[in-house]
Assembly symmetry: C2
Homo-oligomer: 715 residues x 2
């Protein structure tokens, strides 16, 4: 295992390529490092200078007076592999490669050179971060081998003087974005442990660094900027570990859009992959997705201050001195999925006794500016938080002139310390850094964006609820039930299995499929209908005709032998007209399905993360709205239930407008089974489509109306 500690917390460092001119990056990095009181020894390595910023410089790494813990490489790309080799051979255990011009180059030898870096790192078991990176900062050690302007002010300590102990660690593929989180958070007096920018991730990947942070005891909240995940297994292991530890990961993953994917590919040679698969992987482990820098910093702040007392629900009490801000916050809270219930009568009477006649404690609790001053936030917060009707408190303030709040510092600190429910300040005026410090010292985060305030509370409550559920779920029971005799049938089928063949697989896994008969001529079809004793559907079976309805290869609701015979001939003719070369394997005769809620269910194989179970409500409108969710296969019953809850239209399954609730248990069974099939055959099955599935009323099961399995293309 490479020694990440040697990389991040060295006592001796070489800066290879160091320069004296602070206007070039090689000089800036020395200047930035020199601006903070790092206690280790720093050795510049330069071919052209003997002294750099007051430090003796060495011609090569081999000339150094000791074997350093780590080397920073900021030299032209073509020299990087040999220099790294030199470092490794000497016994240097870690390197931070700043240089660009590797796999992100459109053409040229960048890709090959990156592979060489990777080989060297493996050979010497070195912890190598980069290349094409902006370096990192270890706030605790005041060590920042980076040229980022976010840490170039020697008058601003990397760690604020007043902050809480729950540090935020940042890992970002983009240097600009990694340090941007710090740039936003530092004026809010938030404590960061590390900002690490990983660039192309030729060797160390983001989640390996997160793994290190989870263990080193210095980081409670993790923020990430992700362009791609190179090793899904590392991701899954680390994400689960962080969830079990209660150390939340807040990410943004670029590449939702085609333009974003183009950008990631050209930026750090990332293959952004399908965003829906990433989203599913995040959902699986409670990883929180943020939408912009400020929002992510605010979510991290919420966890940093209240991670040990996350809200048990989404009911908030709002305390305000500005009636306008209170109303706006209430609307914003409700739109973010919180509720703002009236307080219980007792709490309300207690508070209103202290307010002027035009104040109100109904919730929002509008103390009016004057009353807030007289009664004080600490009293109002304490009384409101005591109500059983709320899970969290939002206190609205104008924190522009924070000196106004200093007299309250002591009782506010007591409130924060004793609180059983989290309390968040929202300021509608912009505080200065000193203002954030006043509140931070007392133990409160301050947000300046109403939507973020509400969203943070929602995220914290969701995280708590998800984690509690997750910890109770036994690890997914996925004992393979791959029926032995199925393998032969599967291998004999073509690239695309017909409905009949596909259902054969489902049936082998115990999924009950409608009574159905494969007929090879019109008379056999008519006999089948007679046996079924009711209206039937006929469907041409051909691996070459996937869209049967479009081809006119389906006939519905046939009730007489005559109708069945005519239908048989018609759909065979249609199928031949649609595709003259189609191999026709017969016509499937099925009883017409009873009515039910239309569902689409399927498997798509993601290149990085393997098979993904997809479920959505069916029908034309739903297709327009794209109400579908994904999860990595296999899924257990609990995960399947959670997937259904993520559907916008989930209420339909529970029965609306007098309709009976659908057989959700049967649907969950099917989801679990299909996901197990996909898992059993993960290298063989590229796609499963059950569309539509009709879910009948509770207790009456479901009908798989059509089914399709597509094999993985053999390379």
């Amino acid at each position: 295992m490479p020694d990440i500690g040697a990389l991040l917390s060295p006592t001796t460092v070489a800066v290879v390529g160091a320069a004296s001119d602070p206007h070039i990056l090689r000089g800036r990095i020395m200047q930035v490092m020199g601006g903070h009181p790092f206690k280790g020894r720093v050795y510049p390595v330069s071919r052209s200078s003997d002294e750099i910023m007051g430090l003796k410089a060495y011609k090569t790494v081999s000339d150094l007076p000791e074997i350093v813990d780590m080397a920073v490489l900021i030299i032209p790309a073509k020299f990087v592999p040999d220099t790294l080799e030199e470092c490794g051979a000497m016994g240097i255990r870690a390197a931070q490669i700043i240089t660009s011009g590797f796999a992100e180059e459109v053409d040229g030898e960048g890709g090959d050179m990156q592979q060489r870096i990777r080989d060297i790192a493996e050979k010497y078991d070195m912890a190598v971060c980069g290349p094409n990176s902006e370096g990192f900062a270890n706030m605790g050690l005041d060590f920042c081998p980076t040229f980022s302007p976010a840490v170039d002010d020697p008058d601003t300590s990397l760690m604020p003087q007043w902050c809480n102990d729950n540090h935020i660690g940042v890992v970002a593929q983009s240097g600009g974005m990694g340090f941007a989180f710090y740039d936003r958070g530092r004026p809010k007096q938030l404590p960061f442990s590390y900002v690490i920018t990983t660039g192309n991730e030729a060797c160390l990947e983001g989640f390996q660094l997160v793994d290190y942070m989870l263990d080193d005891g210095n980081t409670e909240v993790i923020v990430m900027f992700i362009e791609d995940i190179k090793s899904p297994e590392i991701y899954a292991t680390v994400a689960e570990k962080s969830l079990r530890a209660g150390k939340p990961i807040i990410v943004t993953k670029i590449g939702h859009s085609q333009a974003g994917q183009r950008a990631a590919a050209s930026h750090t040679a990332a293959l952004a992959g399908s965003y829906s698969a990433y989203n599913a992987m995040f959902e699986r482990y409670g990883v929180i997705e943020g939408r912009d820098i400020e929002e992510i910093v605010d979510i991290a702040s919420g966890f940093s201050f209240w991670g040990d007392r996350l809200p048990k629900g989404k009911r908030v009490g709002i305390i305000t001195g500005s009636g306008g801000a209170g109303g706006w916050m209430a609307d914003t809270a409700v739109e973010a999925g919180l509720s703002v219930p009236p307080l219980d009568a007792k709490t309300r009477a207690q508070i209103e006794a202290l307010l002027p006649s035009y104040g109100t404690a109904q919730n929002p609790i509008d103390g009016t500016a004057g009353a807030i001053r007289e009664v004080g936030y600490p009293n109002l917060i304490r009384m409101t938080a005591a109500s059983d009707e709320v899970d969290a408190i939002i206190a609205i303030a104008s924190a522009r002139n924070a000196s106004r709040y200093e007299p309250d510092l002591e009782p506010m600190t007591a409130v924060a310390r004793e609180a059983e429910k989290p309390i968040f300040f929202n300021s509608y005026t912009m505080p200065k850094p000193e203002g954030f410090a006043v509140f931070g010292r007392a133990g409160f985060p301050v947000f300046t964006n109403m939507r973020n305030t509400a969203h943070v509370i929602s995220c914290l409550a969701d995280y708590r609820a998800f984690r509690e559920k997750f910890l109770k779920i036994p690890s997914i029971d996925t004992v393979s039930k791959k029926p032995a005799d199925l393998s032969e049938a599967f291998s004999q089928a073509g690239d695309t299995l017909t409905e009949y063949e596909s259902k054969h697989i489902l049936a082998a896994y115990g999924v009950s499929t409608p009574q159905e008969i494969l007929a090879n001529n019109a008379d056999a079809a008519a006999d089948a209908m007679a046996g079924m004793g009711g209206p039937v559907a006929l469907k041409v079976q051909s691996p070459d005709i996937i869209h049967k309805t479009e081809a006119g290869a389906v006939a519905l609701g046939l009730e007489s032998g005559e109708a069945v015979r005519a239908g048989f001939d018609r759909i065979i003719d249609n199928a031949r007209a649609y595709n003259a070369n189609a191999a026709i394997k017969g016509v499937l005769v099925q009883p017409m399905a009873p009515p039910g809620r239309e569902i689409i269910l399927g498997i798509n194989r993601d290149e990085a993360f393997g098979p993904m179970l997809m479920i959505g409500l069916g029908g034309v409108y739903v297709e327009v709205m794209r109400d579908v969710v994904f999860a990595p296969a296999p899924v257990g019953r609990e995960e399947a239930k959670m997937m259904l809850d993520r559907l916008q239209g989930v209420a339909l399954l529970h029965g609306v407008r007098g309709e009976p609730p659908a057989d959700i248990d049967a649907l969950i069974d099917l989801m679990v089974t299909v996901s197990c099939i996909a898992d059993d055959w993960r290298d063989d099955i590229a796609e499963i489509d059950l569309n539509p599935v009709l879910v009948h009323p509770k207790g009456e099961g479901l009908t798989i109306v059509d089914a399709l399995v597509v094999k993985t293309k053999q390379v």
Copy 2:
């Protein structure tokens, strides 16, 4: 007409209730006013002091040495009416009432006193703002009769030294919120003309102040915080005037949620009313709704800088020095409804010739930090903006140290001046006020929030498109066609008209309704069926049974005389069982409707704004998703079309998955007609429900399956 100019731009001012102690509001207001170089004469009026902050004080208004233009009243509520009367009698033309304790009081005499204020203002034709207000600021005159801490810093000029000429005027019912917009915008060097906080609006209403701003030539963009609109006519007139003038109004209206409505009621005694009606009124006149302080300030900034060159579409070119930020911005843009198309080959080649090998001009145009420095934003912006593929430019920068950009100031200014497409800077680090000034001087807004950046561009493009459409629409043609003979039938019907009676009204307005016969016995129903020659539906007609299906009072698809007779008896029995006292007016016999897209269409009468046309896609799923939109009746064909475009599921009407497009023309006709009916009978009809309406394929019309009209309750 009250003289709003005397209120906002006086040369002589009395401050009634002024005090010397800056720790109380009566002293703060003097201190704040004294901190800015207002050139008019200020007279303190105080019962207890002879001199206040160096100014001679007078015992009463009558003692003043001259008749002032306006008086600021900050005295106990009980003294306000008499003092206002004194002012009016003397000939003072305007007053700003700061004092609280009027209609917003839960009990007591506040409401009566507020009515007295209103009466006095009318009697003397005075321009009275407030009460329960935080005062206002006129930035151009350095006049700020307010105690708001947002303007209490004498070292910060109200108007930035460097700013553009398109000033932002703020009108807010909440003092805290009104000045909060300024508090956010001032550090961004945005120019404000006024911040006016109106509190309870006993006399002057927000839109009257907006009307003044539209005329006085000093304001190009308006920002409002609204708790309620007291006079819908004033709103409609002023909102249309602002749209025609191209001076956008950006609002937030609180009361979306019940909690928000409670807050508004207690705060300024506002009756928040139905939010959907407000939303419809905003949509009608292109009024833009903002969701938080920062977003509103950013939208206002966008208009302030680029109001004369709004984007013609939603295609953006993104220029970045940080690949990570570029990708993230691209994703964010696409999620906000913008597109980020690849540039044309020619532009791309031109740009790539200037970039290093690891840069790209595909869009996002990732110059890399180094290339941005060498090539410069001005060149990259100019080349990108020349492409026919984009309508606007987002330039991503790290503007933390704005001095880096000063050398580019001259070419950047030239680019902004000559640009035909708007250009927006996004900084991923936080600029200082000087940084905003550098970009502002050059002519560019700087945003620090990616979602806001994208959303602002979308708002600007939408506003342009909407305004162009609006200016072309002839004023709605709503010549009443109220048929004379209908009045009698209408007055004879009960409070709730049956389907048969309701359709009679529709038919009188030329809406073709299905062939249908009202049968009073089973035989008549069977005869009717025979005449129709196909399957029919039977529906019990009773004003006392509104939910016919729920009552079992409907039978569908009856094809034989026998089935009709049996059905008739069954649904009559069901109806009687459902409501033994229901007056039954017969059974309606209708042919079964051919299939079509299910729509719900109706009228709801809003207490403030009158009849609202509602349209939505029908069906169970849509009910769950609440995909409905509203517009004030009457609507013309253009407005009806725009309403349909606002439906999330509008694609369904255009035909998806091989289904034919629906008869949108017929639907639009129906929308216009129903809205005209509602307008003709605006005092008489409380509700119209056409649910469902089946819209058949293009050219085949529609079927109104059920109809219901409810009369307004006579008081």
